[in-house]
Subunit: 433 residues, 2 copies
């Protein structure tokens, strides 16, 4: 059973603070190992990557064999069923359509002083996407990372995916093909991140690395940050469901479990204005846990980090939601649109009872890479913006420089930056001659 | 004298690679000290901050006295000259106008399946801006950080600025007032970053911290990242000037020196298609260095990290510029607009000979907080986006769920995430009954 909290009880603040502060993840400290691996790959390139792949993935490759050939990809994806292919293609199409709308516009204008100002967006030249191997290989994540990069116009997109004992999920290769990925390497771990960041004889370096991974991958991404850009370091998944009593308790139970089944550290919280409904959902969770395939994961997650919070009214629910700043927020209430205006800190909001969060994981269109651990207070999910950067543009005319140059000179002098002031003054003097 | 490189010489690649790879900054390793300070502030709050302020800034404060009162700010800014005030106000107005155009739009639409999709931008609830004290106190940086936050709609904006021995630059307080800053604290160092990130009895925590600082501040920002959002960790300033022979060598020399005077680790590079012009600029730099106030800083910067590169033509200059990915790029050429299309990796571009980079530091309008150390390949200058986050929205109708739900279920099953699939299936079954 999860925690039951009553938001109108006197001890609620203490309990809620404990819930928010609960340390859910105990990452092993692998930083020293990772630093060595990165140094090794920088020093020895392919040779180091090949040795580490042999050691960790029990796979002996040659430098030429690190990349999947087009024929190898063809053969693998021929095994995918027509239904799975159709599902992936539908997902890709919807994700692409959503992300195409995100493309920001360039701008340029002449202001009152006569200066031409503006900005221009341009894609990174090359991006690398890390795809975990083994159990947690999610073809949907390939789509969610690769499609925004390609929509942004990234000309070169490389994937690394470890293939322990040579095993690869054909759906991952199909997702890469559908998304337009240019290169796929059968390497993983910190050595893959190092190869993407610094390059080797066989793998050209990239400018941006995204994608989920284990503690080694996360530590490696932190270490190469600065040399390349990275996306967020994602923590365990979370869902907050705000539901009134006019919901099917079993549906809500399944939504809570669809986060809990990801990871024992995942967190699922229900907030409701009806205590009886909350109890009914908790009962439904227990019932589903009896048979759920991943009950060994979902059970501990729900027991250790799950919570059912009863509130006086839905406005209180919205206020608590803003303090939780959940990765995923379901609004299963009569007027979800109105409450979505009040819940301003959330990675993704799913409105109404026909929008289970799982739709957003696959086919909704918005990205499923979202801020965790309350970081929705200050950050956003993955988007085309992660693969673009903005260059600001300015051009003065002589008249514009005469109009605003003296103020720049005055401020430069006040900051004791003489050359700054002189670089303006020399031009002004020439114009005034 | 700086390095002279000839891009058509056989050894150019080696020399250029060395120039790109030169380690310009040797940050002291202060991480252990900073970790202790953060832990102390988390444990003891105000008391720790007051002790550390007494120790590092030789200033004994009370908890109540940490914030400047409105009257204290009034008194300080009364000392500012009318000219300086007018210059700051002009700068603020232009920065505000530029950043207002950056505000991204919300979107919402119904797609072919009948799903309503969209996103919504919202500001962070509170932001903290670090302002260095002492010599490197730049009121212009207050404007450049605070105005985008306020344009983004951040309701609470706090500044921390150390006041060693009680000294404060009145222009910093005036800039804060003009920008609409809500709270100004006279604290600094890692203790200020810890107070902003975790809060104390007197200082409420914020969600995002921006602003430049010394090695302690940078290390503290890295450490609190995740708990709060941070902007980039800026390295030493850089400028690349691409200039043809039809320029005044003295103007170009001053532009190069206006970066060099920031920091001995700053880097100023000229690329020209005319070797004689390059030599003339280098001579003009030497002449200006004889009298420049900050020659003790600008001289070593130019000597150790400056470079004059001669190229065969301006297309080669643009190609080298993309490899350098400079923070600031001046295009002092006959057709700067055309070359700006070719220089895609740069933080800010200044077009034409009447746009010295110093204009952009103060009054141009675009932000002067820009990516350094080649990170313009994958990141952008500060903008309103740094103070906003995006929440994605999706709402399915029963018809939309029937249309796309089965694909989500298929993908969930292929990823062995049963509860994900069931959360969709339970609804589809009810709809089909």
């Amino acid at each position: 059973m999860p925690q039951f909290l009553d938001a109108t009880a006197p001890d609620f603040e203490t309990k809620f603070a404990a819930l928010l502060g609960a340390k859910r993840e105990d990452s092993p400290d692998v930083d020293v190992v990772v630093a060595d691996i990165i140094a090794d790959v920088r020093a020895r390139g392919d040779a180091a990557v090949l040795e580490l792949t042999s050691k960790f993935d029990r796979l002996d490759l040659t430098a030429n064999g690190m990349a999947f050939s087009a024929e190898e990809i063809d053969r693998a994806i021929a095994q995918v069923s027509a239904d799975d292919r159709a599902a992936l293609e539908l997902a890709a199409e919807r994700i692409r359509a959503y992300h195409e709308r995100q493309m920001p516009a360039d701008d340029s204008w002449k202001d009152e002083a006569g200066a031409t100002l503006g900005w221009r967006w341009s894609p990174v030249s090359a991006a690398g996407l890390y795809v975990p191997g083994g159990l947690a290989t999610y073809p949907s994540s390939v789509l969610m990372n690769a499609i925004p990069a390609k929509v942004a116009g990234v000309p070169r997109l490389a994937i690394t995916v470890p293939t322990p004992d040579g095993q690869i999920n054909p759906l991952v290769l199909l997702a890469a093909r559908i998304a337009g990925v240019d290169e796929v390497y059968r390497i993983g771990g910190a050595q893959a991140i190092a190869a993407l960041a610094y390059g080797t004889e066989s793998i050209a370096p990239v400018d941006k690395i995204t994608g989920p991974g284990n503690a080694f991958v996360a530590a490696a991404k932190r270490r190469v940050f600065g040399k390349v850009g990275i996306d967020m370091i994602a923590g365990p998944s979370e869902i907050l469901v705000i539901a009134d009593k006019d919901n099917n308790p079993d549906w809500i139970a399944l939504d809570l479990l669809s986060q809990a089944e990801h990871d024992e550290s995942a967190q699922s919280i229900l907030i409701t204005d009806n205590a009886e409904f909350g109890r009914a959902v908790a009962d439904a969770v227990e019932k589903r846990l009896e048979t759920l395939q991943r009950r060994a994961i979902a059970g501990p997650s729900w027991r250790d980090f799950g919570a059912v919070i009863t509130v006086a009214d839905l406005d209180q629910a919205a206020a608590l939601s803003n303090r939780i700043a959940p990765e995923h927020l379901e609004l299963c209430v009569a007027d979800p649109e109105m409450y979505s205006q009040k819940t301003v800190h959330a990675g993704a909001i799913f409105l109404g009872q026909y929008t289970p969060e799982a739709i957003g994981d696959y086919v909704g269109g918005p990205n499923h890479v979202l801020p965790t651990a309350r970081s929705a207070r200050f950050s956003s999910g993955l988007s085309v913006m992660d693969f673009l950067k903005r260059t600001t543009l300015s051009q003065m005319t002589p008249a514009a420089l005469r109009a605003i140059g003296p103020a720049a000179e005055a401020l430069a002098i006040s900051e004791s930056l003489e050359a700054h002031g002189l670089s303006v003054r020399a031009r002004l003097d020439a114009l005034n001659d």
